[in-house]
């Protein structure tokens, strides 16, 4: 398996034809998978905004005040307002905001970025990353994953994950397959889009590298059953259930 960044992409602006920009610079084969950092998808889709676009309501003001008090840092209530508008569920509201976005992804601050956003205050995630991936897939005729970098419980640091995809399943479903001794497998569902996003993130980085797109070559997608769910429902997610009952209390 080979993972290579697409070279020489320009700064992406609203309305840019991202598929064409990629296609001109990558010699794509039908067996390739294209991984695109959500940041450039968002830019192309006009998801960069100034904070003035999010006048804070009372809930956002309350949240920002509490965060400011807890962290001792200034917190702009308009940022909290943007997070609330992007979210359908608030999992943690202090000492940071962890929410479920409208499309089902759980992330800190609803995945809103303040890095790599020239000329604007914030960059929202794509509105419907599966549809963004679908449009790129239709234009490029290869499987497409839209990625973001985000944190997780239990383990330090952040890593690349898939937030949308088209043209490939979310997971390799090993159910019914067997191990080396003919036993049914313990691991049943391998989230290949997340593993591909993680691999892509290694070559994209988080900084000023200017490489928002990676092509994965020689990863075999054929010959296995796929399943399509990327995000868990709260009903099967005990961590989310636990967070519902929990609230932050300073010692």
């Amino acid at each position: 398996m080979n993972v290579t960044p697409v070279p020489d992409l320009p700064e992406i602006r609203e309305g840019d034809d991202l598929a064409a920009l990629i296609d001109e610079r990558a010699d794509l084969d039908s067996a390739d998978v294209v991984c695109v950092a959500s940041t450039v998808v968002s830019k192309a889709e006009g998801r960069a905004h100034d904070l003035d676009a999010f006048p804070a309501g009372p809930r956002a003001t309350e949240i920002a005040d509490r965060l400011a008090e807890i962290t001792g840092e200034e917190k702009d209530p308009r940022f909290a307002q943007a997070v609330l508008e992007e979210s359908t569920d608030l999992l943690i509201e202090a000492p940071f905001l962890l929410t479920e976005t409208r499309f089902g992804h759980v992330g800190v601050n609803a995945g809103i970025d303040r890095s790599n956003v020239p000329g604007s205050d914030i960059l929202l995630l794509p509105k419907r990353p599966d549809e963004s991936a679908r449009r790129l897939h239709d234009a490029l005729s290869v499987p497409v994953i839209v990625t973001d970098t985000c944190g997780r419980p239990f383990r330090h640091g952040q890593r690349g994950v898939a937030i949308g995809k088209a043209g490939l399943p979310a997971s390799h479903d090993w159910r019914g397959e067997h191990d080396r001794d003919g036993r049914e497998l313990g691991v049943t569902v391998e989230s290949i889009v997340d593993e591909l996003a993680a691999a892509a993130n290694l070559v994209l980085g988080e900084g000023s590298g200017g490489e928002p797109v990676a092509v994965v070559r020689e990863f075999e997608l054929d010959g296995f059953a796929g399943s399509d769910e990327l995000f868990r429902d709260v009903e099967t997610d005990f961590v989310r259930q636990a967070l519902r009952e929990w609230s932050y209390a300073r010692d």
Copy 2:
């Protein structure tokens, strides 16, 4: 970046010199990173056991009885005993066991496997995966990651993660670095060992493929600050704090 499985590895048995078996089959360069599935590290280290080695105490029996009642499946109390003996903290005890292992990793059933374990009932994770990685690193003179496949909250399915490493940092620490506009970065700590483990897992698979080792080539490890923590402390992990207060209740 290139990720390739090491070909023709045999079934690994207790006492096997895993480093020599890898070295004979991989033409390693000093810039390569070797990712080894914990399953073969465990086999080499004699971590395969029969359940008879874990006579169940009252706590394990109580846990297994409750799990059997909830799931409607038979649950062997000796398996619960093995999980307890491998663990220092029980995060979820129903409807499945989520624990912290003695070396700090959080996983279902303390990462104990029942697939790919010929001739024994169960395979425990390596006792100290950082030390396992260190021994392989000393013998192979390249950075080494010991991987496992495990699940996570919020997202469906499992993916490869690092449970031990030597010769490279856990994370690329982007603190102090800047984005394309000179702003300080939002993402600060990228868990490269987990991203490398995820990439490796794509080529290893979960089944009967017989490929427990992958070599990562052309991933640039120089020129950045690293940080070394892999596992979060409970003090900074709000999800773990929430789980402490939570318990499963059937509707």
